[in-house]
């Protein structure tokens, strides 16, 4: 179901804004800048080509990282789902990788890679691949045995079996994985850019921190949050379109 702002949402966010604005009257701007100053900095991003390029760079890194970890995650999920031996080797490996903090990956990437983009791509893939693998493996394993046998009774080729049964079965899990990992990727990309990049939202946040510009830092943060929300809404719309066959209970609507 597509997200629609309700009165409660507006009250909650409006309340936060109000508290912030009141705080701005009692604290210096480098701690609690007034809302108009944050808004001004936020909208300034959209009219400045360089700022937009920075935002675009971060968006590109998020998409590239997610796409890379998605491809690798799907391959590993299938290797685990189709082979018990594959599962026995890959599961502990992915579980181990999942336990490594993002900051450790940043350090490893800086030592291993020279350029900024390979470093960030490596960090993004390393931090998301386990989640993608496990979520898609779960979707693959939830495939109905009854539908599998029914499809097999028509003697499909491997390619047809994938097309008519496996792909439609795992699509909902794939979309959920993208939604979940998008938020995670947005957090990680900022950490990666903070350390090694010369552009992007993380880099901009570092600049604001060095000049004690809280309004600027919040404007860039807001930019990242808006980006995540917009992309998540796009995924929800794709989901609604692709999963339109699903019944909804009247009470749940």
């Amino acid at each position: 179901m597509a997200y629609r702002p309700r009165a409660e949402t507006l009250v909650a966010l409006g309340g936060l804004a109000l508290v912030w604005q009141i705080a701005s009257y009692f604290f210096p701007p480098y701690l609690f800048p007034p809302l108009p100053a944050i808004a001004q900095k936020f909208f300034a991003i959209f009219v400045d080509a360089e700022s937009l390029a920075n935002a675009g760079a971060t968006a590109g890194r998020i998409f590239a990282g997610l796409a890379g970890s998605f491809v690798l995650g799907v391959a590993m999920a299938f290797a685990m789902g189709r082979s018990e031996r594959g599962y026995r080797y890959l599961f502990p490996l992915l579980n181990f990788i999942q336990g490594i903090p993002a900051l450790s990956w940043v350090v490893i990437a800086i030592i291993w890679f020279k350029g900024t983009e390979p470093r960030i791509f490596f960090i993004m893939v390393s931090t998301s691949v386990s989640a993608f693998s496990f979520q898609i493996l779960d979707a693959y394993r939830s495939m109905s045995k009854d539908l599998f046998e029914m499809t097999l009774s028509f003697r499909p080729s491997r390619r047809d079996l994938f097309r008519v049964l496996i792909l439609p079965t795992i699509v909902p899990g794939m979309l959920t994985a993208w939604k979940v990992n998008l938020g995670n990727a947005a957090r990680v990309v900022v950490v990666a850019e903070l350390v090694g990049a010369t552009g992007g939202i993380g880099y901009q946040l570092l600049q604001q921190q060095q000049s004690f510009d809280m309004a600027g830092a919040l404007a860039w943060t807001l930019m990242l949050v808006v980006f995540v929300l917009v992309v998540q809404q796009a995924i929800v719309r794709i989901e609604n379109w692709m999963l339109a066959y699903r019944p909804t209970a009247e009470r749940a609507a």
């Binding site: 046998e149 008519v164 999963l243 066959y245």
Partner: protein, 264 residues
């Protein structure tokens, strides 16, 4: 190359046994089929009866080529259903106990599934599927998803899906058992009509003696583990006598038949 079945036989089980190893205890196994031998002639309608767990579904899966026998020979149309799996594409179709419709496909797309896997062009398969839906009284429901259809309508779609590929052998695993009596009766009549019209060889697994008497030309009663406990030809026979003999055979195999349970 597999040995051909005797002339006229569409299905042949010759001294078949099937043993399953328990996945959780690999040193333990159980025998689902002991020594099963029977033949079904081309175009014949055979009903298979037996108590729960007597190996009917195992026989069904062997015939569908989904599992391999531990020993013995299974042949359908002169070929091995397991080893020559692809050869049977479009030649064998199955109607399962549940409708097993793909929830993401409309009624029309579900009926098209088997024809689509045969590689027919979109226009041709659409025409065939529409024809079968109309024949089964589902005109106007082509674009409905399974969740919007009643149990009887969903089972009709699954019957249409099986017939749409034009199979030479039709396997049915208690397809009407989950339906109410009236819907089940109507579907049984429609099914029988379609099998007669198409001339397909039909193997119908059921728990109900009445259903077996209605749909079969011959009844096979399975003992547990599966082997033939009784074979009765219906055509020309005294139906009450056959019913009594089937009931006795089923009771002797360890459990009362559905009718007896209902009467108790």
């Amino acid at each position: 190359m597999s040995a051909a079945a005797p002339a006229g036989a569409a299905i042949e089980f010759r001294d078949v046994a099937k043993r399953f190893v328990r996945p959780e205890r690999r040193d333990e196994s159980f025998l689902a089929i002991e020594s099963l031998s029977f033949e079904v002639a081309r175009g014949e309608r055979v009903a298979v009866l037996g108590r729960t767990g007597c190996g009917k579904s195992t026989m069904f899966n062997l015939l569908a080529g989904l599992i391999e026998p531990t020993s013995g020979t299974v042949r359908a149309l002169g070929h091995d259903p397991f080893r020559e799996f692809d050869w049977f594409r479009g030649r064998i179709a199955v109607v399962f106990q549940g409708d097993r419709l793909m929830p993401w496909r409309s009624a029309l797309a579900n009926v098209e599934l088997g024809i689509e896997l045969l590689g027919k062009a979109e226009e041709e398969r659409r025409a065939i599927a529409l024809g079968w839906l109309e024949r089964l009284g589902l005109k106007g429901h082509e674009n409905d998803y399974p969740h919007a259809l009643s149990g009887g309508m969903r089972q009709r779609v699954s019957i249409a899906r099986a017939f749409a590929v034009g199979p030479e052998i039709l396997l049915c695993d208690e397809p009407f058992s989950a339906l109410d009596e009236l819907t089940g009766q109507r579907l049984r009549e429609e099914y029988l009509q379609l099998v007669k019209e198409t001339g397909a060889t039909s193997v119908f697994v059921t728990h109900s003696i009445s259903e077996a008497l209605q749909l079969g030309e011959r009844i096979l009663v399975f003992h547990r583990p599966a082997r033939i406990a009784l074979e009765a030809r219906i055509a020309g026979g005294d139906r009450e006598d056959i019913r009594r003999r089937v009931l006795e055979a089923m009771t002797a195999s360890g459990a009362p038949a559905e009718e007896e349970q209902d009467a108790a």
